[in-house]
């Protein structure tokens, strides 16, 4: 096996004028040095990939579009040799105008990432493109409801603010890793991907192989959180393996991981019209999602990013729009919470400013506006099973919300509480399939292509199947992913697996039970309709003695095994010009409340307590659910207080875990608690990987606002920003004396 070390671009946007590989190739132990041009010259493979647009070169060809883009690959048996040789590759660049900010890149006259629009991947059908490559836009999505102008005209007050979220890293503790073996007209890939079937399709397209000759095997991942959702390292390893005719391994360093997939930086201008009684009557918002240099999944993200700006509120007049804009920064991809974190950061922050201005308690203004059963969402869908009011009341109670005594002071330290509410969809349409195999000893194999990355999908599926079959979960084994053996699943993202794969699994179990019933009927010589299956026992209804276990049925009927199959296909989708249609098969509902302490001398914020509430439908694996919520808290606290990919002219400044901070044990609140609201009648199992996350940063920020009056509009809430806010406030208070603060809306922070 050969180890690959990548030579990465040091230019943000440039033509490659020369790649000198001679010294590297001559380095003792170096087996091969490969460039993008080498791949293109072969003619036996495609050289561009991407889940929606075929825009990303396996290795850069002619042009580099961000600092860190793979330009050449060095292969050697000893990784240290590959390292040394890679340092000898020299690349010459002729710089092109570069742009780093999404709003600036939008229609930029100077910097254009793609003079020619890239082709689409033919099989990605559920995204309608409104791309405009002349303006660096890889997609736009618009949601329109009611008459937004009329809404603003009728409003008593209009609030107009700009909010920013920076790029961030998902930072799975294990970085991307892949081994590819393309020998003999086949391709086998051991990969850390969250999308085995999409990756298989992409790799088949790349190497010109039929799907059934591409095998993607996915062992357990050391975390994913979206970063490993779409192919990045796999095409490189696969192409190189074909070039050298040997298995190739590529394992990214942490520095490389940071420039491989990021959370979208996003800026949004959000205007909200309200009545004096607190009702929101109009919202207009335009969001610029920084897609980085390649589209990856941004074309789909704008859909979430456009409807997400409405929040969980019944707003009659709406026009929200999201653009995914290409810039000379590392590609942004999927990320826990998808686009919703950035949306919630804006609308929940603004809502507390509105509440303050109107003199309404933050909890109360949410009660006034939260969606209720029967309300129409901005997508035109009529919503039901809404539990927002219950979740909000419960969270307010748990945190000890007191409208009359919001702030505690102790010297420089000030404590206060904040609250926020969020709605989030799951990927729709979507497809999952599963197989359940009952053995003669009563054990059960579940074959699934859902990826285990620590989110606990395997124990959760085992528990679900066990419950379905009425057997002990210890009898159920859940497979890892191997596309040669495990059936199709669309992807493991967007908290969809519990609902989608769980649903497919339920159907597969039902299918197996149906077959068991038929077989048992033969064995017992009764009509299948007279049989009942209770606690894993098949028996003639009412006759307790005459019972067979599932395993006995398999054994005695000599069928070897009983195979049940299930498929869950959800349909829907939204029109990209109006946002009307079916946005999600079910809606994640989530509320968060934080208590923070701020040191007003330094601006430093600590989260003392956090409590969240999520409508879970049904909780299958309580420990796993608890883990998922705490995981969201790590991300929420990190996003709120410290996580940021800082770039200087496209060069990442926070590229190691010594520069990029993630929460440690000491950074976490000492007390936290999550309520998982269940409704067994409802009969649905909702995923819990993400919903608890988006409310966290705004709840923390809102608590800071109550504590100090400082509104931070750009994440993270660094101590420095808070201190500046406190100073500006003090100065403006001193300057204004007793003057009404009307003008301060939208002006500070």
């Amino acid at each position: 096996m050969l180890h690959c070390r990548l030579v990465r671009s040091t230019a943000a946007h440039a033509e490659i004028t020369a790649v000198r590989t001679g010294d590297a190739a001559a380095w003792p132990g170096a087996v091969a040095v490969v460039t993008g041009a080498d791949l293109a010259a072969r003619g036996d493979m495609a050289v561009l990939f991407g889940p929606v647009l075929l825009d990303q070169p396996v290795l850069a060809i002619d042009v580099v579009r961000y600092i860190g883009e793979p330009v050449a690959a060095v292969l050697a048996e000893d990784p240290a040799v590959a390292d040394e040789a890679a340092a000898l590759v020299e690349v010459d660049y002729a710089h092109l105008p570069a742009v780093f900010d999404a709003e600036e890149a939008f229609g930029s006259d100077t910097a254009r990432l793609f003079p020619e629009p890239p082709e689409r991947d033919p099989s990605f059908v559920d995204v309608t493109l409104r791309a405009d490559h002349e303006r660096n836009v890889c997609n736009t999505f618009t949601v329109v409801k009611g008459d937004v102008e009329a809404g603003f005209a009728a409003a008593d007050l209009v609030f107009d603010d700009v909010f920013d979220s920076p790029a961030a890293g998902a930072v799975p503790l294990e970085t991307h890793a892949v081994v590819a073996d393309a020998r003999g007209d086949r391709l086998t890939v051991w990969s850390s991907t969250q999308t085995p079937y999409i990756t298989r399709r992409q790799l088949a397209l790349l190497l010109g192989l039929p799907l059934n000759r591409v095998r993607v095997i996915v062992p357990a991942l050391g975390g994913g959180f979206g970063a490993k959702a779409y192919a990045s390292v796999e095409p490189i390893a696969a192409a190189l393996s074909r070039v050298v005719g040997a298995p190739v391994r590529l394992h990214l360093t942490r520095e490389e991981e940071f420039v491989t997939s990021t959370k979208h930086a996003m800026r949004v201008r959000i205007r909200t019209g309200v009545m004096r009684d607190g009702r929101i009557v109009a919202r207009e918002a335009t969001a610029y999602y920084n897609a980085g240099a390649y589209a990856v999944i941004s074309p789909r993200k704008v859909m979430f990013g456009a409807y997400g700006l409405n929040g969980p509120y019944a707003i009659p007049h709406v026009r929200t729009e999201a653009h995914a804009v290409l810039t000379n920064t590392p590609p942004a991809g999927a990320y826990r919470g998808f686009a919703i974190n950035q949306c919630a950061w804006a609308y929940e922050g603004q809502l507390d400013m509105i509440a303050e201005r109107l003199g309404i308690d933050p909890v109360e203004i949410r009660r006034i506006n939260l969606l209720r059963d029967g309300d129409t969402f901005c997508t035109g869908e009529t919503l039901d099973h809404l539990r927002f009011h219950d979740l909000l009341d419960a969270a307010a109670e748990r945190i000890g919300w007191d409208p009359d005594e919001p702030v505690h002071r102790d010297g420089d330290l000030v404590r206060a509480k904040g609250i926020s509410c969020v709605i989030e969809g799951t990927i729709t349409p979507s497809t999952s399939t599963a197989t359940v195999r009952l053995g003669p000893d009563g054990s059960v194999d579940v074959l699934t292509s859902s990826v285990e990355m620590g989110q606990g999908i395997r124990p959760a599926l085992a528990a679900g199947v066990a419950r379905h079959l009425g057997i002990d979960p210890a009898l159920v084994g859940v497979s890892y992913v191997d596309t040669d053996l495990t059936p199709y699943d669309q992807q493991t993202t967007a908290s969809r697996s519990m609902y989608s794969m769980g649903g497919a699994m339920g159907r597969a179990a039902d299918d197996a039970l149906h077959k068991i019933r038929e077989l048992a009927a033969d064995l017992l010589e009764v009509d299948p309709a007279d049989l009942e299956i209770v606690d894993g026992q098949v028996r003639v209804a009412g006759v307790e003695q005459q019972s067979l276990s599932l395993g006995e049925v398999v054994r005695r009927s000599q069928v070897g095994n009983v195979i049940g199959e299930g498929t869950l296909v959800t349909s829907g989708g939204l029109d990209p010009f109006t946002g009307q249609g079916v946005g999600s098969v079910h809606w994640h509902q989530s509320v968060g409340a934080a208590e923070i302490e701020v040191d007003t001398a330094t601006g430093h914020v600590r989260v003392l307590r956090y409590t969240g509430g999520v409508f879970a439908g049904e909780v299958v694996d309580p420990v796993g659910a608890e883990h998922q919520c705490e995981g969201c808290l790590v991300f929420g606290v990190g996003n709120a207080l410290m996580e940021e990919l800082v770039f200087d002219q496209g060069q990442l400044v926070t590229g190691t875990l010594a520069d990029y901070m993630v929460p440690t044990l000491e950074d976490m609140p000492r007390h936290h608690e999550f309520e998982l609201m269940e409704d067994p009648e409802h009969g649905e199992v909702h995923g819990l990987g993400e919903p608890a996350l988006p409310p966290i940063a705004p709840a923390i920020s809102n608590a800071l606002y109550r504590a100090t009056g400082v509104r931070i509009r750009s994440l993270p809430i660094s101590a420095e920003k808070v201190l500046r806010g406190l100073r500006e406030r003090r100065e403006s208070e001193q300057a204004a004396g007793q003057v009404d603060e009307v003008t301060s809306v939208g002006a500070q922070g």
Binding site: A87, M642, A658, D659, D667
Partner: protein, 299 residues
């Protein structure tokens, strides 16, 4: 780019000789916490690595009664020094500043010699040693010399050490009884971040409650720990009331030339110097017994 040779000298003299024979192209390895990273990231490409591991005598902590010096061997780890009874008794703020460095694994490997020789501005112990008027003993081709920490730390990753010079010991004048001292580390992001600002303060009060001794060093905010002797001098003899502390902290804040990095801009660092100088002195006062003193006086 050949692989460096590796040496385990068994005496300081041997180490100096080996270093000298490579004419500046060799690197010492003490705890290795900084050096390993520099080598991995190719920030240095030495021809030889010289481990001090087998050099005897560099791991001692003792108090020299005659000179009144606390002597800490260069190879003593942060963790060992921080919990050492002699360090805790005679230089408690040094123990405090060693105990807040990085994380447990770093502290159990990193050495007191290494942290000084590394001269990374974003460090904790150097400011404390500067406030304590500590010196290092260094062995080079010309034999031993002592260098004050203030003269040793020249700037970003820059020391007054010659290429073949080995720090063997850190010498700290023991604090007089009744002296109050504190080291406060401020991290602006994660708890386990390196310092945004660190302040070491030492306060001795006269019987009448006025300031007999005040020494303050600010670390991590500029290229090397900052001490303002003239400002310290002006405060002596005065009472350390709120106004005086503010004046003192302002002087440090105004005179420092702060760095800008991901932990804070120059503006922010200046403000943090103002806050933390004051807090460190207040903390030192609390520990000096002045607390009781001033309470009595207030009554």
């Amino acid at each position: 780019m050949s692989t460096p040779a590796f040496f385990f000298p068994r005496s300081v003299a041997e180490a100096v000789d080996v270093m000298d024979s490579y004419d500046g192209a060799a690197k010492l390895v003490a705890g290795g916490t900084a050096l390993t990273l520099m080598v991995q990231q190719r920030l240095v490409s030495p021809q030889a690595l010289v481990s001090l591991r087998d050099v005897p005598g560099l791991g001692e902590v003792l108090v020299d009664e005659d000179s009144g010096l606390l002597r800490i061997g260069a190879l003593v780890t942060h963790a060992a020094a921080a919990r050492h009874p002699l360090v805790r008794r005679h230089a408690p703020l040094l123990a405090d500043s060693l105990a807040v460095v990085g994380n447990a694994q770093v502290r159990s490997a990193a050495t007191v010699g290494g942290v000084l020789a590394e001269a990374d501005y974003a460090s904790d112990p150097p400011a404390t040693l500067r406030a304590l008027d500590a010196e290092v003993a260094a062995h080079g081709l010309a034999g031993e010399r002592t260098i004050g920490v203030g003269e040793l730390l020249l700037g970003f990753y820059q020391t007054a050490l010659a290429p073949a010079e080995v720090v063997t010991e850190v010498r700290v004048p023991v604090l007089p009884a009744g002296t109050g001292s504190a080291y406060l580390k401020y991290t602006s992001r994660s708890h386990e971040d390196r310092p945004c600002v660190g302040v070491a303060a030492i306060v001795g009060l006269a019987d009448d409650g006025s300031c007999a001794d005040l020494r303050v060093a600010v670390g991590a905010a500029c290229d090397a720990p900052l001490r303002l002797g003239d400002v310290e001098q002006q405060i002596r003899g005065r009472r350390l009331d709120g106004a005086t502390l503010s004046e003192f902290a302002d002087a440090y804040a105004d005179r420092i030339d702060p760095v800008s990095d991901v932990r804070g801009s120059a503006w922010y660092r200046r403000e943090m110097v103002r806050v933390w100088v004051r807090r460190a002195i207040e903390q030192a006062l609390l520990r000096s017994g002045a607390h009781e003193h001033s309470k009595e006086r207030a009554q």
